[in-house]
């Protein structure tokens, strides 16, 4: 374990802990150590309080810059870099914003408690366990590393203070071990089973939580201070007798009074950041078809939420709809209309149905209520939902944003995708299948769009959020909604991704498909519950920010349904923020226009906005279309329900496919979505101070990935595979922590459907328009050739796949740091700490593949390399290795890429300028593959037995080296393969060839007994001189 941080105090604490629980000395010790670690971190943080945001949760070794930082400024012991084996994870200090799942050991805890509580709940937990379990394993490993990193983590002052406060508490109260227990979770499972746990329990510090339920009542319960969100949520669901709980969640108000979802996988305490243990139970995912819910109680709760949404104005509806919904509410809550009721209007006016309810509406409600005679409450709820679900804003979670021109817009996240509104008008829509990647960086939010049938390039659309928090919040909501509605199963965090960076946030619950399946298995008598007369007085918590589209422009009152609208609400003036930019970037290449002057950049921006064009002309992807009449049938709710219910029972898979009851979009089957994260800790002030007018617009070059056809090794050939990728880099900005407001910056990416994007060239998503489809395909093919670089003969199928994957990986990983405009780009060694560049991302992706390589081999000593290629080498490529023969040198395809930003189809269509004329940034990508001839014809059919695989990352100033070593054993022969990926980043001055040569040379020197079998050079440079205009 990594205990170097153990200072005296910590040791004391440790001793304290140990003595407190002599019976568990072993674990206690671990805990102690962990605590010590934590304290150490805290201390450190205190020291460097002024610089870092606590969420720099990176995994050091994967995040080379961090690594560097550590070296240079903190005293991290190198041992930490070595991934420890199976120890419990230390609690990594994570900020509330830190999405890293602290799952380790937690499931047990929860389960254990549930056990004590009620069987039902336990069952539920068990049901949940698959997801929990999966969430558990991988993070455990990662967090280990994390705690090492933690020291160098940057912390905001506030954060540091908060931590400090906690720390104090901990020290004062002997219950410190409670926390430790949570930490040590995994290894302590057995302890939980022992009677001792009772003792422990007594000592636990409990907190009273108040949860406002949907009917407006409060539910209070005690939870351990260290409990995770899940625990509280389960307690609430248990209290509500709710089984279909996946549609719901708990919210809390953050320190900025914004409503946030409580992450079930993380400790509550760490999320709420205050001592306000007050939550609200709310619907998190609005089922597109509530009739598919299994239980009435679930529908009832959904109704309660919607009543609140409607009466608060969050869910706008017309007068007639208000009246209709109100009448169903009356029927559900009060039963049949009673003519005897003395003064029905008085009574009804005490209820809130609409934001601006009036007598006229109340009369209408009563009138309609009369017509519902005989309807049971459950039926009334169903009717209510059937109408509510059709409202255009049903289930749409709105976020304020600005488009690329600084115009106020709203982004709405819903089951089908992302909607863009300007005032009340929908100006664009990005269905989930259209979105390749979702990311955010600082206060920018980006989506990468699958190219339309007439486009060759993926494009990235950027939006500017109010601040980093809101960008992250939006990102999370997108990730969750996408996962819930579009995936069959949540992404498994356990995916062998060695090098995961940044926020590990992902949706941890069940997806809609799963929850439907689970619901179909519910076998209990319909629980009886009481429909209380919900007063729907706006609740303190839930009535949080009522965002309605009308507010987007200005703060005009949101006009109600009143037929005689005051339409003067001048939401017209779209508060433009001058100097605000939208950053659009392409994730494939790190492109920044270093040479451009501010003016040029501004001009560019102007031209971009002008030249927006429709890149999304394609109709929504849809499966083979039924003819129109069939279609009509299937889209009629009745039919749909029937069909889908069948599916629920027998075919979970297909059921998922029909999840969108309206749009029969095919779900991506068996997707392996990847959540990719980049994290940058940058002080926000800096980014703000940055250029007003910078438009880092980049575009994907779909071409030339570092294709690495898998060289099939001969028997005992040992080889070193070198790869150097040169990526144009953009400099980190010098952070200047000016105010306490500065918060750690972070960015993250989420790539919804890797599979789909990879297979782009093969799977045309629009099946409806055959003709066009053809064209599209052709176009894509034109685009894609470079993707598969004329591979050496021996490249086998899988190899190609791999290379494609790699390509994808690369695309995804590289990213841009926008700050380039700042003149602070010069890396100043002292400053490096706060910035992590994203480029190292390129590296990580490769590793996992290496793992899978079915290489045959002989055991060789695990050669680990940590190398730092110097830039001053002089060897030329060709002379590197006499044995190395150039087999393939693909034509360096030069791809001019361009960027199109469009947030509005109107503007899009208006400008009819061909994409070609919109070059914003030109890039050039080359891939050159050198391959040793000896590998030819090595038909290595049988997969070997993988013995070990290991990945090491190291970095120096401008290079990042990832070394992946696999040892496989096959047929008595073992083979060691070393794959090195060196990412060299820097400005134009870098002599890439030299750098590469040097890298190869070094590799040879380090492993004289091995041969270099293949070198793939992937070079991405920006053609700076191209800037016309």
């Amino acid at each position: 374990m990594t205990t170097e941080a153990g200072s005296e105090t910590e040791v004391k604490e440790k001793a304290e802990e140990t003595s407190a629980q002599p019976d568990q000395s072993e674990t206690a010790e671990q805990e102690g150590q962990e605590v010590a670690n934590v304290e150490g971190e805290e201390k450190e943080k205190g020291k460097e309080k002024e610089k870092e945001g606590k969420e720099g949760k990176g995994i050091t070794r994967y995040l080379p810059t961090w690594f560097k930082k550590q070296k240079s400024q903190s005293q991290t012991s190198p041992t930490k870099e070595v991934p420890p084996a199976g120890e419990p994870v230390c609690k990594a200090t994570e900020g509330e914003e830190e999405p890293a799942p602290e799952v380790n050991g937690h499931a047990e805890e929860v389960e254990e408690k549930e056990e004590v509580k009620s069987e039902e709940a336990k069952e539920a937990t068990a049901a949940e366990s698959d997801s929990t379990a999966s969430a558990e394993t991988e993070p455990a490993r990662e967090e280990k590393v994390e705690d090492a990193t933690a020291k160098s983590e940057e912390k905001t002052k506030e954060a540091a203070e908060a931590e400090g406060a906690e720390e104090e508490q901990k020290e004062k109260e002997p219950q410190g071990h409670v926390e430790a227990e949570a930490d040590g979770g995994e290894s302590q499972t057995s302890i939980f089973q022992s009677p001792l746990r009772l003792v422990r329990k007594n000592k636990m510090k409990v907190v009273v939580c108040r949860v406002t339920l949907l009917d407006g009542t409060d539910f209070t319960c005690e939870v351990e201070k260290r409990a995770k969100g899940q625990y509280l949520f389960f307690k609430v669901c248990e209290h509500l007798n709710l089984l279909e709980k996946d549609y719901f969640g708990l919210t809390y108000k953050d320190s900025h009074d914004e409503k946030c979802w409580l992450d079930p996988t993380k400790e509550i305490k760490r999320q709420i950041r205050s001592n306000n243990w007050h939550f609200a139970f709310s619907v998190k995912f609005y089922p597109p078809d509530p009739s598919q819910l299994t239980e009435d109680i679930t529908r009832y709760l959904l109704c309660l939420q919607l009543r609140e949404d409607v009466s608060s104005g969050r869910l706008p509806c017309s007068f007639v709809t208000h009246a209709l919904l109100g009448s169903y509410t009356l029927q559900a809550e009060f039963g049949d209309y009673e003519p005897d009721q003395p003064r029905p209007l008085d009574f009804i006016s005490q209820l809130t149905f609409a934001p601006n309810q009036n007598k006229e509406m109340e009369e209408k409600i009563l009138e309609l209520h009369k017509s519902h005679r005989g309807m049971t409450p459950a039926q009334a709820d169903i009717q209510f939902l059937e109408n509510a679900k059709k409202l255009s804003m049903y289930g749409v979670d709105l976020h304020h944003a600005k488009d690329s021109e600084g115009v106020d817009i709203m982004l709405g996240v819903c089951a089908n995708g992302l909607l863009v509104y300007k005032d009340r008008l929908r100006i664009n829509r990005f269905a989930w299948p259209k979105i390749l990647k979702i990311s955010y960086k600082r206060n920018n939010f980006y989506i990468k769009i699958r190219p339309g049938e007439t486009e060759q390039f993926e494009s990235t659309v950027g939006f500017k959020l109010q601040n980093h928090r809101s960008a992250k919040k939006l990102w999370k909501v997108c990730v969750e909604n996408h996962s819930f509605f579009r995936l069959n199963a949540p992404e498994a965090p356990t995916k062998a991704r060695f090098l995961t960076l940044g926020s590990k946030f992902r949706y941890s619950g069940r997806t809609q498909a799963q929850t439907r399946l689970a619901s179909s298995l519910i076998d209990r008598p319909a629980p009886s519950f009481e429909r209380t007369s919900s007063k729907r007085i706006s609740r303190s918590l839930d009535g949080a920010p009522v965002i309605s589209i009308t507010e987007a422009g200005s703060e005009t009152a949101e006009n109600g349904r009143d037929p005689h609208l005051e339409l003067h609400s001048d939401s017209k003036s779209p508060l433009r923020v001058h100097g605000d930019n939208i950053y659009v970037r392409h994730s494939n290449l790190m492109l920044e226009d270093l040479d451009k002057t501010q003016d040029e950049v501004l001009k560019h921006q102007a031209s971009i906005s002008q030249l927006k064009r429709s890149f999304m002309e394609a109709p929504p992807p849809s499966p083979p279309q039924p003819n129109q009449w069939e279609k009509r049938l299937t889209s009629s709710p009745a039919t749909t329900i029937r069909v889908q219910q069948q599916q629920v029972v027998c075919a979970p898979q297909t059921e998922a496919a029909s999840a969108d009851y309206t749009s029969s979009d095919t779900k991506e089957p068996a997707k392996t979505p990847e959540v990719e994260i980049e994290e940058t800790v940058v002080i926000q002030e800096v980014s703000r101070a940055v250029k007003p007018g910078l438009v880092p617009v980049t575009a994907d070059s779909p071409a030339t990935p570092p294709a690495e056809p898998e060289p099939k090794p001969q028997d005992q050939t040992e080889m070193v595979e070198e790869e150097a990728a040169a990526v144009e880099e953009v400099k980190p900005v010098k952070p200047e922590r000016a105010s306490s407001e500065s918060e750690s910056e972070e960015e993250a990416e989420y790539q919804p459907n890797v599979a789909a994007s990879i297979s782009q060239t093969k799977i045309p998503e629009e099946k409806e328009e055959e003709e066009e489809q053809m064209t599209k395909e052709e176009e894509r093919q034109q685009v894609s050739p470079p993707v598969v670089p004329a591979p050496p003969v021996e490249a086998s199928e899988p190899a190609e796949e791999l290379s494609q994957e790699e390509e994808e990986a690369k695309k995804e990983d590289t990213s841009v740091v926008e700050e380039k405009k700042d003149d602070q780009e010069e890396k100043e060694s002292g400053r490096e700490t706060e910035e992590s560049t994203d480029d190292p991302m390129v590296t990580p992706e490769e590793a996992p593949e290496g793992l899978i390589l079915p290489d045959e081999t002989l055991v060789a000593k695990p050669t680990e390399e940590q190398e730092r290629p110097k830039m001053n080498g002089e060897a030329s490529l060709v002379e590197v290795d006499p044995r190395l023969q150039v087999i393939c040198c693909s034509e360096p395809p030069v791809v001019k890429t361009e960027m199109v930003t469009i947030s509005d189809t109107f503007a899009a269509q208006k400008t009819e300028i061909a994409t070609k004329e919109v070059p914003i940034v030109h890039t050039e990508t080359k891939t050159i593959t050198y391959e040793a001839a000896q590998l030819d014809g090595n038909g290595d059919g049988e997969p070997g037995v993988l013995m070990t695989a290991q990945t090491i990352t190291s970095e120096s100033l401008c290079t990042t080296t990832t070394t992946h070593i696999t040892k496989t054993l096959k047929g008595g022969l073992s083979e060691t393969r070393i794959e090195k990926r060196i990412v060299i980043t820097g400005d134009c001055d870098i002599d890439h060839d030299q750098a590469l040569a040097q890298a190869i040379k070094e590799a040879k020197e380090q492993h004289p007994d091995m041969s270099v079998t293949r070198v793939v050079v992937h070079k991405e440079t920006e053609l700076a001189e191209e800037e016309e205009d």
């Binding site: 706008p316 509806c317 017309s318 007068f319 007639v320 709809t321 209709l324 309609l368 017509s371 009717q383 059937e386 109408n387 059709k390 409202l391 255009s392 819903c414 089908n416 300007k422 005032d423 009340r424 008008l425 929908r426 100006i427 664009n428 829509r429 269905a431 009308t550 006009n559 349904r561 037929p563 005689h564 609208l565 339409l567 003067h568 609400s569 939401s571 017209k572 429709s614 999304m616 002309e617 394609a618 109709p619 929504p620 849809s622 279309q625 003819n627 129109q628 009449w629 279609k631 009509r632 889209s635 309206t662 749009s663 029969s664 189809t905 109107f906 899009a908 269509q909 208006k910």
Partner: protein, 282 residues
Amino acid sequence: MAGLMAGFGHYTHAVVRGIPASLAKEALRTSQAEVDLTGARTEHDAYVEVLRTKLGLEVVELPADESLPDCVFVEDAAVVCGETALITRPGAESRRRETEVMKEALKDLNLNIVEMTDENATLDGGDVLFTGREFFVGLSKRTNQRGAEILADAFKDYAVSTVPVLEGLHLKSFCSMGGPGLIIIGSSEPAQKALKIMQQMSDHRYDKLTVPDDIAANCIYMNLPDKGHVLLHCTAEEFPESVKVFEKLKDHMLIPVSNLEKVKVDGALTCCSVLINKKANI
């Protein structure tokens, strides 16, 4: 029960207006064509007759106003959906007063009237395509963003998406609904482009029926209790190829309606009536 979006295409009333003599010379037009006033009136009478007699709608006939040469094209003056009628502010200055009589007529039908008073807003009903599930508003020479916003405010239940109209007068100059979830669309490039935008913007899926002639894509769809799907479309005389396409709609009662004269002043089939469903509610 009459929930949202129930009974798309179901109408009970139609508001039409006579043709003033001034139409021949003064009506706005994009092409320079001679209008045969008598022919136009004959055509229009036949049109009204179809609505009244053949389809059994209650037709409210407003008198022509000589000072409003375009007044026969009542569609532009009001958008009616459910029980709400939005009185528009037509994009052409000369047509603004057309709304006055229309407003009174709709009031008499007990519709909730919403007026577009914003001086910056313009909206022609011809730019409004209601699909049964949502609205598409063409942003054209006659309709602007503000007009669309007001429409969105008036019909809060529905998504309102904007679609650029780059060629042609109105959005519905090249498209219309041919049934629930079925959009009839012209084959010109602008029309196809607009369709794609609509498809992209929508959470719902629409089938399309492409007809060779843009103007032929303007049809009137109804779903009437005793008649089922009804489609009023152009005659074979005008657009033989397009009519062949319509004839593939086996489930529809197809009623060709001649529109040779009015089309010269950019009047399409839908332009000449405002359809209302007075039994929208229970």
